[in-house]
Chain length 313, copies 2
């Protein structure tokens, strides 16, 4: 058996690449730009070229590489079919077969949020567990569920799309997905800023956020930590929404742990603490002790999760 | 390898037993009473005795029985630990080990709602699928999720407890689980009757349900089918709650199909039609075409699911 494997995380502007030993040790990581021209038709060739360069530089035989695991910013089903990937210009095709043909190396692929969840399970905040639920609170909300150490992809590649759990029938603004009232509209970085802005505009409340330029999620957390009552209220609201959503998730798959990642999680334990507080209130009693952890791998979660898909168990 | 297996469904008043060929054909089914005296300590012995009688009557050798699969009315984790079973008087113990010791036959056990879901996947409304989500709308709401043809039990045996998805922060009455606002409080048979009663008492609306004695879920559906405007509104409300809950479930595990069972499902396609209508509204677009089916096995789902757990794949 070969001794090395690649983990690849395809993003809209950059592709993160990781070269690993099959024991999971990261040897090198680097990035190449994402060429979205001509419907993204150069992306896989660029990745294959970058890997070949690395293999040649090390003077390895291709058989020393056991596999390539890739995260893709769109739905991927269990058979490796990309079901459309708007950011990259991709339509529907089997990415595993295509990459294997291009590279001559066995390939696995999954949705990037799912693959990041697998990475956190493998080497990050979910280390030591096999059944985790990860929520990535960034510009939007991504999510990933692992069952028995493997990604739960779902029949349409839509398992773990927890950012689109319906939360509010009264919402008038649209989510990026076209619906109204999705979790993402309140609990993503964008959503946190949106809600704070809206509430400030609607009330006469005093807050440091009023005279601090454009409101961001980071500013809300900083103000809450500094004791600003309005900001604390926003954090509580956030905890309530996320705690309730996690209670829904627990009623479905009852994970061993929740891992919270993405830009919002950089605020630290204030995030997990407030989610946990409301989770206990909303969760079915048997699951109410489920622990919460912060993600640990940041932008490397994708390459760790990618490689995990092709490593021997 | 042996040629037969038992499927057992332990209920609070009766234990359903099924004798199957290993090809899944049901040969015989019968019931024995559930003896809950002395903390239910006779239950497993009674089951073992009933099986032994059957084995002796057929003059079979015990080695012809490949296994026993049992559904239990309480949480059971993936290792076969019963985590308390109030109805039966049971505490915490490993039911698989205990039954194997008593019977000399390999045993598997799961939560009864999960096992019923497996039964419906195997021979009922979810036939032909491996990843289903089942909702059993009875006195309460049970649920079960299958992934790749197997029960998703969850770390506390609480996966599929979809009756306790939080639905309403404003609820003042308590759910049986101790929380307020669970799906079960609105969409179980009891919940449907409760809501209809409450709404009738609060309004001056005219309805055949007003002069028809005690309101039941069945009466609500019958009145809706006969065109009663108030009853139709109740059915729409029910569809809205269940459609939203199914949208939550789809955001987590994105099943191939939803199967709706329990007493409420006896009303027929009016139930699945109205859930589907609202599901489409609330579901993430990738999952919005998920089909809905009625359960088909009724009270036999448990013995079919039980035996499925021990049959070769």
């Amino acid at each position: 058996m070969g001794a090395y494997a690649f983990g690849v995380d395809i993003g809209g502007t950059a592709i993160k690449m990781g070269l690993f030993e099959t024991n999971g040790k990261l040897l090198e990581k680097w990035e190449i730009p994402t060429d979205t021209s001509e419907n993204g038709s150069h992306i896989l060739t660029d990745i294959a070229d970058a890997m070949n360069e690395k293999i040649e530089a090390h003077k390895w035989d291709k058989h020393e590489i056991i596999g390539i695991g890739m995260g893709v910013p769109g739905p991927v089903d269990e058979k490796g079919n990309v079901l459309k990937c708007v950011n990259l210009g991709w339509g529907v095709f089997n990415i595993e077969e295509k990459m294997e043909k291009l590279s001559g190396i066995p390939t696995k692929a999954g949705n990037d949020a799912n693959v990041a969840a697998l990475g956190e399970m493998y080497k990050g905040g979910g280390r030591g567990y096999t059944n985790i639920a990860m929520l990535t609170l960034g510009t939007g909300i991504g999510g990933g569920i692992t069952i028995d150490g493997k990604i739960l992809a779902g029949i349409n590649g839509a398992a773990g799309e927890v950012g689109h759990i319906p939360m509010n029938d009264e919402e008038t603004e649209c989510c990026g997905c076209g619906k109204k009232g999705c979790l993402e509209q309140y609990a993503s970085a964008t959503g946190i800023a949106r809600m704070a802005k809206k509430k400030l505009a609607e009330s006469n409340v005093d807050s440091v956020l009023k005279n601090d330029g454009e409101i961001t999620a980071k500013k809300v957390f900083d103000a809450a930590k500094a004791g600003d009552a309005f900001a604390i209220e926003q954090v509580e609201e956030l905890g309530k929404r996320l705690g309730k959503a996690c209670a829904c998730i627990a009623c479905v798959c009852n994970p061993q742990i929740f891992v919270i990642g993405g830009g919002v999680s950089k605020a630290g334990s204030i995030v997990t603490d407030v989610i946990k507080k409301y989770f206990c209130r909303y969760a079915f009693h048997a699951a109410s002790n489920t622990p919460f952890a912060l993600a640990e791998l940041g932008n490397d979660a994708g390459i760790y999760g990618g490689v995990k898909m092709v490593l021997p168990e």
